[in-house]
């Protein structure tokens, strides 16, 4: 599902205009990004945890050329679904 379809579905469920839904969604995502950038962990019941993990600097070896690169540290965003998310997921998938 594309972002447009997702926004349209949310608009319908919330009885909001698509434009308004887009604005609120963009604001919500900005808040989530800012909080993750500050190093916070976002924990939402029935959804899971959005967290960051620091990957230290490392030497990366390209498979074909065998060239080595010193890679800078990197922060990765990880999502860990909680049991309610998985249960809901199974109900819909089964």
């Amino acid at each position: 599902m594309t972002n447009e379809d997702f926004v349209a579905a949310l608009s319908q469920q919330l009885n909001l205009e698509t434009k308004k839904t887009l604005e609120i969604l963009a604001t919500a995502i900005t808040i989530i990004s800012e909080k993750l950038a500050e190093g916070a962990r976002i924990s939402v019941e029935n959804f899971g945890i959005l967290d960051t993990e620091k990957k230290p600097e490392h030497i990366f070896v390209e498979q074909e050329s065998r060239q080595q690169f010193l890679m800078p540290p990197e922060i990765e965003v990880v999502f860990k679904p909680d049991s309610a998310f998985i249960e809901k997921f199974k109900e819909k998938t089964a």
């Binding site: 800012e34 939402v44 080595q68």
Partner: protein, 300 residues
Amino acid sequence: MREEVNLQQLTLLLAERAHIPHQEAEAFLKKFFAAIPETVSKEDRLEITDFGTFTLTRLAAEDIAPAVKERNNALYCKLRFSPAEALKNAVNKPFSYFEKVLLNEGVSFEGVTVVEEKEKKTAEEILIKIDRDKAFALDSKVKQKTKKKPIARWIPVLGTAAVVAALIFFFMSEQKKAPELKNNPKKVTAKATTIGKPETDSTTTNKSSQTPSQLPKEPEKIQLPADKTLRLIALEKFGNREFWVYIYYKNKKKIKNPNIVPVGIELIIPDKSEYGIDASNPQSVAKAKALGDMELKKFQ
């Protein structure tokens, strides 16, 4: 202690930023987070701009790693969240000015892990087992976090034990050789003649009978004088100031901040070959400069 943000705090922030009532913000966020699993389970893929993409891959039991494979009709799904570029950039802002640096052959850094391209970790995947009779989840992670077999857990321990045993054996045999040489002056003389200095003292140790090439190369050590910096020492020893970073790497355990190096500290001068130091090679100088800049930015 890391800050933990929950739905209530997100609601307060959203209501404030989007200028909407608290109830509306709460309803929106609840619907948003509930819609994600619902949509992904139906559509297999959900892309949310500037946030990320949830992807679902359906697998048959045969496709699962042997560690979790079971002979049943269960359906397995792999769920993956790939953050969007905007989100990656936002969280990586502190490292945005870093770039990858091409290294010369044979260059290695202490404590820096080497990752082969084929081993490179992709986004974390969650394996979910859907059993139509008795629904239960299996949170094992495919590939990266597959539960190790009991024997696999012992491999690193056994490997370390084997290395330690080999070292002990080596030193024991070296110690045995020393008294042998003491008791056999002929052997000592024979070795001594190879370096052109006949040995007369029968108590000469095995070490002194070795040729210079056999002796382990002692790293050069200096004490930092009051009027010197790492840059000046690099200029003196390697012919260019930019190579200071390798003196720092070699003495990283002692130097907490390369900008503040205490006078009188004993510094080990690395061998040029260890880091590919070559003042006449512009690439070597440029690489050292890039590494130096990278290290200094950590202390700004």
